[in-house]
Structure formats: C-alpha cells, structure tokens
C-alpha cells in the first residue's frame, strides 16, 4: 500500500485515502494559446520510468491538493511538498538523484 505524508495536515495517508492527479508542474495554457501548447498541456505526458513529480489530493482527509516525488518503478517516495510550488524542492531532487532543471 502506497503511503504519503500530507504536507498540510501532517497525516500519513494510505493510497485509499488519496486521489492521484497525474503529472505535476504542467504549464497551463488558456484560450489564446496555440493548438500545440494546448495539446501539450492537456494530453502529452513524460510518463517516465523512474522519478515522477505528481499531484495528489487528500480526498478522505483534509481535502487539500499537494505534490509528491516518487519513483514509478520502485514505488519509493522521496517526499511530499505543498501544491504552491512550481518545481520540486532541491533536497527532494537530490534524494532522488535527479539534477534540478535549469
């Protein structure tokens, strides 16, 4: 059972208490964007075999959205962090062995 610590209420939540929201840190595009931008935002995904930054919602808890950095092949969780963040925190990336994007 996947267990994530909600960065808001601090609870260790089982996956049955959470809802996955897919890839995190996508650039949102609105009405005046091009078809390519809109497609990338809505549909195209990294879907990596390895480290994945993703959105989660603590649905059966405090109800808040948050982020997690997790390995999709080992299910190792490197940590969780608040939703109001544009890139994963440097210490989590380091724990995951990933170079922070420039």
């Amino acid at each position: 059972m996947l267990t994530l610590t909600c960065p808001y209420c601090g609870l260790q939540a089982d996956e049955t208490e959470l809802h996955g929201g897919g890839e995190a840190h996508l650039t949102r595009f609105g009405p005046d964007s091009s078809d390519d931008e809109f497609e990338a935002y809505l549909f195209l995904r990294q879907n990596p075999r390895g480290v994945h930054a993703e959105r989660w919602r603590h649905v059966y808890g405090c109800g808040k959205w948050f982020h997690a950095l997790r390995d999709t092949t080992t299910l190792q969780v490197f940590g969780t962090y608040p939703a109001q963040t544009l890139t994963p925190p440097a210490d989590l990336l380091k724990a995951a062995g990933v170079e922070p994007a420039a």
Partner: protein
Amino acid sequence: MPPKRRYSAFAIARETLRQHAGWDRAWADRPMKPRYDVIIVGAGGHGLATAYYLGKNFGITNVAILEKGWLGGGNTGRNTTIIRSNYLQDPSAAIYEKARGLYETLSQELNYNIMFSPRGVMMLAQTEHEKRGYLRTAHANALQGVETEFVGPDRVKELCPIISIDGPRYPVLGALWQARGGTARHDAVAWGYARACSDMGMDIIQKCEVTGVRSAGGKVTGLETSRGPVDCDKLGLVVAGHSGHLAQMAGFRLPIESVALQALVSEPIKPCMDVVVMANTVHGYMSQSDKGEMVIGGGADGYNNYTQRGSFHHIEETVRALVETFPMISRLKMLRQWGGIVDMTGDRSPILSTTPLGNCFVNCGWGTGGFKAIPGSGWAMAELMAKGTPGSLAADFGLDRFREGRFIDESVAAGVAH
C-alpha cells in the same frame, strides 16, 4: 528454410507412434542481422500481428521483432482474454469488429489452436443510467453492423444462472449481450503469430531490449539494443505500457500514462458459467477457463507505475464486487494474482499513428482492453507501415486527434478495466 510441418490430428497420431520425437520448434531462434527493412519493437500480440500482416498482406518479410523479455510475456500473456466489439463510436466498432471477425478463423489461418471460444459476453446494466447507455450502444451497434442485443433480467438469469439478479445494492436491470463475443487462449495467439512470422523468415529476437533510437534528418536510422546496434528502414513501436519510454528515446512525447492493472484466478471448480460477465457499476468481471478456474479482473491503479504488481486494495474491491454479483463464489480460494502495465490515453481509444520521425510508427494506447483487438490492430498497423499512411481502419486513430480535439470517446464502452 523448409515450411513448418502442419499441426493436425494425423500429425498427433503419427507422433504418438514415435514418442513425439518429430515435432519442430514452433519458431526459430536466429541471431540478429545488422539490418532489416522493418523492425518492430515489442513481441506482444500487437507487434507480432503487425509483423504477420506485413508479410501476409504486403509481402514484406525482411522483418525483425525485438523483445526485451520473452514473447507474449507482456500484457498479452497477462490479460483476461475477453473478446467483444460492442463499442460505441464508429471507428472503434470498425477495428474491434474486424479483429473479432479475424479471430473466428485465426486457428485455421495460423494452423495453431488459439482456442477461440465465442461463448458470449454480457455487460450488466445495474443503474438506470447504465441501462440507457447500453440501449444507446445497442442502437449504435445495429447501425454499425455489429450484432448485439439488449436483454432483460430474465434472459440474463437464463444465460448465467449464478448471477444474483436482485443484488443487494444494484439489481440487474438488463444487459448488453454480444453472443459472438467470448475468449481465446492469450499465449496461443502470441505463439501462433510468432510461428507464422518465423515461418515467413522473420526474426524474433527475444531477451533483446531496445535502449536507444538513432535518427538523422527527421528519420530513424537504427536502434541500440542490449544485443548491439541494428539498422532499419522503418520502425514500429508496439510496446504498450512502455510506449512513453520508447517515445522518450525517439525524442517525442505521447498522450499516454502507464498504470498497473491486475487480474486473479481461483482454484478450479466444476463448470458453473459458460458466458463472460462484466459488471461495470460494481467494477469486476468474471469468466471460467477451460481448466475450471474463475478468471477475474477489476480496477487499474490510480497513479503512474511500472511495477507489474498492482495495489492490494483493488483485489479486495474486485472480489467484493463479484461476491455481490455471484454469491456462490464467496468461499472460493484464489490461486494466483498478477499485474500488467497498461497504456492509458485520455479518450480510452488506441493510437495507430505516424510520428514526428518520418519512418517511425506507433501502435499503443490499447490500455486495459487491447487483447480483443490484436488481429485488427495488426492488420491496420501493417497497412500503415507498408504504405506510410493509414488505411480506413487506422485513419481516425492518429496522434493528431489530440491536437485537433477529434476524440474517440470510449470511456463508457471501455467500462470496467478489461
């Protein structure tokens, strides 16, 4: 190379008399050549069927199928083998019905018993909303020339006496019934195609993982593999859950997310149901194998993963749903559980497409329901690869539909993950 000896009742009798010493290997284990006209990555059902129809329909036989594990060891060998074609949208009905039709005579065509069993598939309607949805599908199927029928609860009970019609939470209001749907032996489908491909002189290279895609001037030139480099004129990526990974090597992204989907089988029991039943509202489905095991499937994980295992709580949810639908299974012991990595698209429809690289093609996105499509998908993909442009079966399944908003929405017809 001499053609394979045909399998027949006569051959069995002959071999019985000489201790079965005369059987050939079903497919050859040849070394990889430095170059092929076409390379298919992934020896699952879809990759093998693509290669087979490239040879059969287009005479292209200088083909290699590269497989990182063993052939048929991906989702093809892990699925619960439901075959049906009662989808809602016209492009889906066309390709799934083509596949179902090809399945009917595939054993004879491949001279390999794939154990196609058109025992009938029933999708239960357990809410008013679901009932209206299936009535709509039945009407759509009538227009598409796909034989389906909406049947009432009495007929459901007649077709499958072990169903609890009055259900504790969701009484059965009827069902979408496709009498020509059914099951087939999953491994045999892969093995039968592999044998036919090998017979045409194609190379099936197992334990050969593709680790890089070489390209120049917007075209693929070759691949890096765990068995060394290899060149090709055309490349087909047919790797299901690993499509995103291969696309990354080739330098583009796909509208796909990979998740684990699991299935389980019970101890064998005496024959108790001779149809396939899917209960989409409570989320589970079941059929009985020829060995007597109840073959059970349910939900996919809710987050990206490549673990081929699946979350434990899905087993509980699935089994709970099925005990409610079939009370007599409540004390059945489960024998095995396993998972596969399925490739989910946003509209729950597959992708058969050209890519940003001119001579590279993808066939993926079959998600939780592509076993039923194997012959039709291979047929359409072979046409796409041979001609460079899609034929009528593949035309609507291109990648451009996501940019242009021409979705083939099958989120309802795809129902429970199957």
